[in-house]
């Protein structure tokens, strides 16, 4: 997810000031067989739950996201990561729906993760934190949804890793989910996606400050994390968007330096992105969450994806969205989802949006995305008998 591309001008109405919340749970059994206890989940909500409790939407975040999806924290001027899509009259219309977003477990923004204190030792978990999966993230979110008294979700949606969680929700809790909007997602991580993640992880683990994950009381592996972020960032853009944004322009120079200091604008930009990221993100979380992504295979590694969707209810609706220039999560992966859904006769719309912004396109202000999500939800709500004033 890139920060620069988000246009904060003209975002329209906002949910305004929001207050981060959290909920505590005794324990969570993980796919690895280990148990995480206790579990804290940080979350935010926007909009209001209706009397029938039928208008809740769960938003799932991507690798570097968090529970702060919309609005502003007190005293801050930077909105949540999906401010473009969540708010009054926006795609996820908070005049109509209650929108919930939580930080994934393994995260570093309030939910239990490697930088949390392990009550057994009184120290940060570090690498003793158990490996988590996308399935575990979703199981934790289910605890939260139950805690909030929500029995049905009108929709689950997110981009990238958020889209994978949305798919996982549909498969894990078909009786809860009425509709699913996976955006720029995949039914399983490809070798190329795993390869990029592995390079990022090795950058972190090669940083002497990483110290086997035990760095919370000393210097952090910032240079490793920055390099990981730079690699990731490149994969979120596209050749076209980088040419348009940077060209071959030089940074603060009129001629080549003939040395290995920075020459090009794109170098400066990437270093800046890497550096900024280290201020807001934990290196161990980067390891854990990329590992969860790499393990992700909706079919659980058993047989065709079509089997995975076999027991989904016929009235579950899908809107699968891909972006034409996304080479990290290419449209073919979304089409694999679509093919398997259609093979089961499920109600699935597919959109391949023309965009030059690569994987990051889902985070940008996009009138068509807004419009499609708004109408898809309106249709879903109508089919589920929801009424709005």
């Amino acid at each position: 997810m890139s920060d620069y591309l988000i246009s904060e001008a003209g975002l329209g109405a906002s949910v305004g000031e929001v207050v981060p919340q959290s909920a505590q749970f005794d324990s969570l059994l993980l796919d690895s067989g280990e148990t995480l206890q206790p579990v804290t989940i940080a979350y935010e909500t926007y909009g209001r739950l209706n009397e029938e409790r039928t208008n809740a939407i769960l938003i799932l975040h991507a690798l570097s996201g968090d529970a702060h999806a919309a609005g502003y924290h007190g005293g801050e001027d930077k909105p949540g990561w999906w401010e473009t899509m969540i708010g009054p009259g926006k795609g996820f219309d908070t005049d109509r729906y209650l929108v919930v977003c939580s930080n994934v477990i393994g995260g570093c923004k309030g939910s239990t993760g490697p930088n949390s204190i392990n009550p057994a030792t009184g120290r940060e978990y570090g690498m003793s934190f158990p490996v988590v999966t996308v399935g575990d993230m979703v199981r934790a979110q289910k605890l939260l949804i139950d805690h909030l008294g929500i029995e049905r979700l009108l929709c689950v949606s997110g981009g990238s890793m958020g889209g994978m969680q949305a798919l996982q929700w549909a498969v894990a809790y078909p009786e809860v989910v009425a509709s699913c909007i996976p955006i720029a997602a995949t039914p399983k991580h490809s070798p190329m996606q795993i390869a990029f993640n592995e390079v990022g992880r090795l950058a972190i683990m090669s940083d002497p400050n990483w110290n086997n994950g035990d760095y919370y009381h000393g210097p952090a592996p910032d240079s490793g994390l920055a390099v990981a972020r730079m690699i990731g960032h490149i994969t979120y853009l596209s050749d076209e968007s980088m040419r348009a944004k940077f060209g071959r322009r030089l940074q603060d120079k009129t001629a080549f330096g003939y040395d290995f200091s920075m020459d090009f604008e794109v170098e400066s930009y990437l270093r800046h992105q890497g550096e900024v990221f280290t201020r807001r993100f934990d290196a161990n979380t980067y390891l854990y969450v990329t590992k969860a992504l790499d393990y992700f295979d909706l079919s659980g590694g058993h047989g065709p994806l079509e089997e995975t969707f076999r027991d989904l209810p016929a009235d579950m609706r899908f809107l699968v969205i891909a972006f034409s220039s996304d080479w990290l999560y290419p449209p073919y992966q979304s089409k694999d989802i679509v093919r398997a859904l259609k093979g089961n006769g499920l109600d699935c719309s597919y959109l391949e949006m023309r965009s030059s912004y690569g994987h990051d396109a889902f985070l940008l202000e996009n009138k068509d995305l807004t419009r499609m999500v708004w109408h898809f939800l309106a249709t879903t709500a109508r089919k589920r008998g929801l009424r709005f004033e």
Binding site: K342, S349, Y350, L351, E352, D368, R371
Partner: protein, 214 residues
Amino acid sequence: MSEPVEPVEEALRPDYEFIVDTVPEGARVLDLGCGEGTLLKMLVDRKNVRGTGIEIVEERVYEAVEKGLTVHHGDFYEALAYYPDGAFDYVVLSQTLQQAHDTVSVIVESLRVGRFLVASFPNFAYWRPRLHLLLTGRAPVTRALPYQWYDTPNIHSLSIKDFRVFTREQAIGIVRHFYLTRGGRVRLWPNLRAAHGVFVVEKMGGLTAERAVE
């Protein structure tokens, strides 16, 4: 993905009413080249069908989704392969057949995923284009065929008679047919007097002989 083509104007879609009449209540319908979803919406509203559209032009897909329809954005040669045998009761090719690159495979695939195929197309042997060609010596431009030779999306020029011959050759049975002109139904000399042909066909299974509904 092929280049977008101009939508055929609503006024030039006299086949819609006949298709809506033909498709039974509650049927599962796939509309190939559904455009902005006008026909599919009519079918959903009036016949309560479980409808899906396939459309390649992005903006038209958006309009169809806005109508509350289920639409697949993409090429229908590719998308047809996503569906299992018999996934639909009716597959609709409304004014699309003459624009399909591989006509035979579209029809074969349509009759694999659907029990019936409804195909409507402009009749190139209608008297107006015939007369236009005869008198002006230029490729016909008429209300039903409103394009110039250089911008037409119609890559096949077929007549009602051509389609009938084709169905015989391909062992496809005609279940119903309608011949239309601006004035309404045409019964006599349709290949000369009808601007559009609408056929409901199915795979020859021995059960169906031609049984035109009059």
